[in-house]
Symmetry: C2
Subunit: 240 residues, 2 copies
């Protein structure tokens, strides 16, 4: 009956995966809530979102501790180690996604009292939906070790980049037309940038899934929907 | 004579540290070069900086591979494991610092042909010098396991945040005064944001050094020089 007391390696791995799933679910919720707070100027929701980010930070710490203890106790071989190291790295990406959502919530607090361009918010809303789907899909791809699904996420990131470019251009137009819109447009610009970065973190996770399954890093250059990197015009840059 | 063939654990650890030092040196150089490129509108330098970032990415991969092989071969205990995991995490922070410098270089390409506000560039220049010192100091603190030095970096980050706030405000003023400055001001805004994030990555490394030496995470809240997080005015937000 010892198997009821001594957990198996597989159980410990499953335990790590459960924590990652919880982190992913939380990150998704934070992103959704931050966008709703931005959309509806709901300051309470924004503040709750900012606070809730701490739970993700705590979970990241738990994943790392559990992973280190697991390595120390189980002395796994290189192939299994990669699995555990991947869990640490994915939890770090999810922690950053939580930070991005927190940043958006902070912007929601900052612009709550101003009349904002609903059209621009709609674009951000749409962008965040895709980012949320990407996050969900990439976590599924990790859980199922599904390289095709991971690669679909990887390719779709250019869609988010392209939307970011379009929102950036739109916001610049507002700023030029009406200087009073400069402050809130700048906040929305950073909110859009945060969503674009969430897409990048999902893409990072997709590359880790590829590496885990294939045993070698993805060497392809990322496709960029934001083709404006070197254009000295009113375009944003595709940041990393 | 086997010690000449079979490397010791300490040698392998030293080898990891050497790679991290090289990464740190490269990251510092990329940051400096990107700011010079921005300052002097040197497009060649900007493009070389963008390319050079690949070397950092490659080194990150090498650190991770070496670390995983080391764990698999040496089966270290928890305390030593923390050391090796820290190396992986620090290399990931350095890789992101390289990305930030690359982003700044991309902005340099984008605004090269425009007349830009030299005053704003001066602020960014100053900010980047402090970020560069922070990076150097935190890498020293890691090499020497010097918690005091790490904590000095940790506390000084608020200085960078405060400078960012001031540059943000200045750039918004330019935008409001002259709509023609909106495009390049926005690029400079993102450049400043990238430097601010480099400061954050240095702070992350400082927290890792604390954790490594003290054996427990730093629980203090980060000091924020950017006190404007919840001010619905012409201030930036303190992002994470």
């Amino acid at each position: 009956m010892t198997e009821h007391i001594v957990s198996s390696y597989d159980e410990e791995l499953k335990n790590l995966a459960v924590k990652l799933t919880r982190m992913g679910g939380l990150a998704e919720k934070l992103l959704t809530d931050s966008i709703v707070a931005l959309h509806t100027s709901d300051q309470d929701l924004a503040l709750r979102t900012i606070e809730a980010d701490e739970q993700i930070d705590e979970l990241e710490h738990e994943v790392e501790e559990a992973a280190i203890l697991m390595i120390a106790k189980r002395q796994p071989m290189a192939v299994d180690l990669r699995e555990i190291i991947a869990a640490i790295k994915i939890s770090s990406e999810l922690e950053r996604i939580g930070d991005m959502a927190k940043n958006i919530a902070k912007r929601a607090v900052a612009i709550q009292s101003e009349i904002i361009a609903q059209r621009a918010i709609l674009g951000i809303d749409h962008m965040s939906r895709i980012a949320s789907e990407q996050l969900k899909d990439v976590l599924d791809s990790f859980a199922q070790r599904d390289v095709d699904k991971a690669m679909a996420v990887w390719h779709r990131d250019s869609e988010i980049d392209a939307m970011y470019t379009s929102i950036f251009r739109e916001l610049l137009t507002y700023m030029m037309e009406d200087p009073r819109s400069i402050t809130y447009s700048t906040h929305l610009l950073f909110a859009a940038k945060n969503i674009e970065r969430i897409g990048d973190h999902a893409t990072n996770i997709a590359e880790m899934v590829f590496y885990l399954v294939k045993g070698e890093p993805l060497r392809e250059q990322r496709p960029k929907g934001d083709t404006s990197s070197f254009t000295p015009a009113d375009y944003p840059q595709s940041d990393d």
